[in-house]
């Protein structure tokens, strides 16, 4: 049976949905092991067992988080060698893709990013050119490295309760030699909203909000959604750059995307057109966003959004 290694960087207090998705895909490909970095509490260790992990690898060094990705890739390469894995699954975050990139060179392994589904033989499905094409790709090498986009599968526990073996992997001595060091960190205030790239629902505002994201945020909170924005809105300084969806921002693929006061220029569409359902609200009936919306409202967002927010609150009691 093929062996699959899932990398989970800092699992934290509970496994994230995206990590559970990696474990669900891994089990469809073969015997699953996990390599993590950081702390591993008992609950998370138990959850890894309940999700089919037969072995859990930890690094011999504890300071990998003091450096940008390079030493994590060196550790992961050693874990792949120790586990005999022929497939490695990593989350599709910026750091995840770079760890995969460096791991690929260390192992002479093909790397495929932005994967949304994997066949049992390792063929990966992805969407490219901003969702305008779907492609299947395969690594031609002995080991395949895949980075998996969030919301790709519904996480399911394995059903079998395994007691995974714990194994320490020696981090190569030269792993930190040519790595950039993190010398300072400023935490940003947490918004309490779901992470934009992982959210099931995104409510996004654009030029039409004219500096006031209030109605967008209130609807997002009523729906338990993340807040997104067009580049026009982030460039105007109305909302943090982190919220930008589009060609030069984040790509999202939620169940529902609500676009308010965004014209839908091609760069913005690039970031959201793989959403399952698109709702658009715009005063301008000629906005290109209406060409791709499942439900479009020609109207003033300052009237439509608050009314919808009230109605949702009323229904939820």
């Amino acid at each position: 049976m093929a062996k699959v290694l899932v990398f989970i960087d800092n699992p934290g207090q509970a496994l994230k949905k995206s990590s559970l998705e990696l474990l669900t895909i891994a089990r469809s490909l073969g015997e699953t092991a996990v390599a993590f970095n950081g702390e591993l509490n008992d609950d998370v260790a138990a959850a890894l067992g309940a999700n089919g992990a037969v072995a859990i690898y930890r690094p011999s060094a504890e300071d990998l988080d003091s450096y940008l990705v390079a030493p994590k890739a060196a550790y992961l390469a050693a874990a792949v060698a120790a586990s005999g894995a022929t497939a490695v699954l990593v989350e599709n975050s910026a750091d995840g893709k770079e760890i995969a990139a460096r791991l690929g060179i260390r192992l002479s392994a093909g790397v495929i990013t932005d994967v949304v589904a994997v066949d049992p033989d390792g063929t990966a499905h992805k969407s490219v050119l901003a969702g305008s094409y779907t492609t299947t790709a395969k690594a031609t090498t002995a080991v395949t490295v895949l980075t998996i986009k969030p919301n790709s599968v519904t996480p399911e526990p394995s059903g079998a309760e395994a007691a995974p073996e714990a194994i320490v992997v020696a981090v190569p001595a030269d792993a930190t030699a040519a790595a950039a060091r993190i010398t300072g960190r400023n935490e940003k205030g947490a918004s309490g909203r779901p992470d934009l790239t992982e959210a099931r629902i995104v409510v996004a505002g654009g030029r039409g909000v004219d500096g006031d994201f209030g109605p967008v945020e209130q609807l997002a909170d009523a729906l338990g959604a993340a807040v997104g924005a067009s580049r026009a809105a982030t460039d105007a300084g109305w909302i943090s750059h982190d919220a930008q969806v589009g060609q030069t921002g984040k790509t999202v693929s939620p169940q529902l995307y609500i676009s308010a006061g965004i014209s839908g220029a091609i760069q913005q569409k690039a970031g959201m057109q793989t959403a399952k359902v698109i709702v658009a609200i715009n005063k301008d009936a000629d906005s290109p966003i209406f060409e791709i919306a499942d439900f479009g409202i020609i109207g003033d967002l300052f009237e439509v959004l608050p009314q919808a927010t009230e109605e949702i609150k009323k229904r939820k009691g």
Binding site: R102, Y133, N186, L256, F295, G296
Partner: protein
């Protein structure tokens, strides 16, 4: 300082883009300098200018790998102020994945560093076509250099660089020794437009064309032959069709909620 900026010639994202041919590669007919590479070039120009510019021996070398048309990305870079251009061009490079691309670029960077060492390699945060963001990290691994990605501020003092790197939950200060590879975000600066003087001056600047033989890479190491991944099929996504469009008559918010309820999205 000797700075190499990687510039890519990509299909203009303002228009529909297409895949075709062997391995479903990107159609590059309507291509431009990748918008995200302009920030890397501007960062290089600012570093060089702060050190006395080209008169003081600072070099900003725009390097592009790609078919004949890729030279346009180099020319635009020269118009913006790069001091020289290098075009890595070889038919065998067509169809290279990130691993093969990074192999060829690593060899080209070593070649450019033969007579005097390269201090810094700057790139954009991603290409606007492949969007994999793999190449800077793979170059760093191949060249054994520190890698700082997604820099939104960059300073170089002596042999060290300091950068700010913004994540979703935190903002980090990062330090590395030179030489290093740095990718920059679109928040780092405001790229300049080429002015008339720059356009005239660019005509006198040299563009060196390198082949695989020049950089000591065998054709079997790049292109489809040297790639570690292969695209097996590509299908254009069916275009989204417009759904129901209504005009607000005072109750559109309620109709929106009814739509969401019917779609089981509440």
């Amino acid at each position: 300082m000797k700075i190499i900026v990687l510039v890519k010639h990509v299909p203009d994202a303002q228009f529909d883009r297409h895949l075709n041919g062997e391995g479903s590669t990107t159609d590059r007919d309507e291509s431009i300098l990748s918008e995200l590479d302009e920030y890397a070039l501007e960062a290089a120009l600012l570093l060089a200018e702060a050190r006395g510019g080209s008169k003081a021996g600072n070099q900003v070398i725009a390097l592009s790998m790609g078919p004949a048309g890729a030279v346009n990305a180099v020319k635009k870079s020269l118009q913006m102020g790069a001091t020289e251009g290098v075009h890595l061009k070889d038919d065998a490079l067509a169809g290279s994945d990130a691993a093969a691309t990074s192999l060829a670029l690593a060899a080209a960077i070593r070649h450019i560093g033969t007579d005097s060492p390269v201090d810094l390699v700057l790139t954009g945060m991603a290409s606007t076509d492949g969007e994999t963001s793999l190449v800077p990290a793979q170059l760093a691994e191949r060249l054994g250099l520190p890698q700082v990605t997604f820099a939104s501020a960059l300073e170089v003092n002596g042999g060290r660089l300091t950068a700010r790197r913004d994540g979703d939950t935190h903002s980090d200060t990062v330090e590395a020794a030179l030489p290093a590879i740095v990718s920059v975000t679109d928040q780092i600066n405001e790229p300049r437009y080429p002015n008339f003087k720059g356009i005239i001056a660019a005509k006198r600047k040299s563009i060196t064309t390198l082949s695989l033989a020049d950089i000591g890479v065998d054709a079997s190491q790049v292109g489809h032959a040297g790639s570690w991944t292969t695209v097996e099929s590509a299908e254009a996504r069916p275009p989204r069709t417009a759904g129901t469009i209504i005009t607000d008559e005072g109750d559109a918010g309620i109709k929106l909620v009814e739509f969401l309820a019917a779609q089981k999205l509440l």
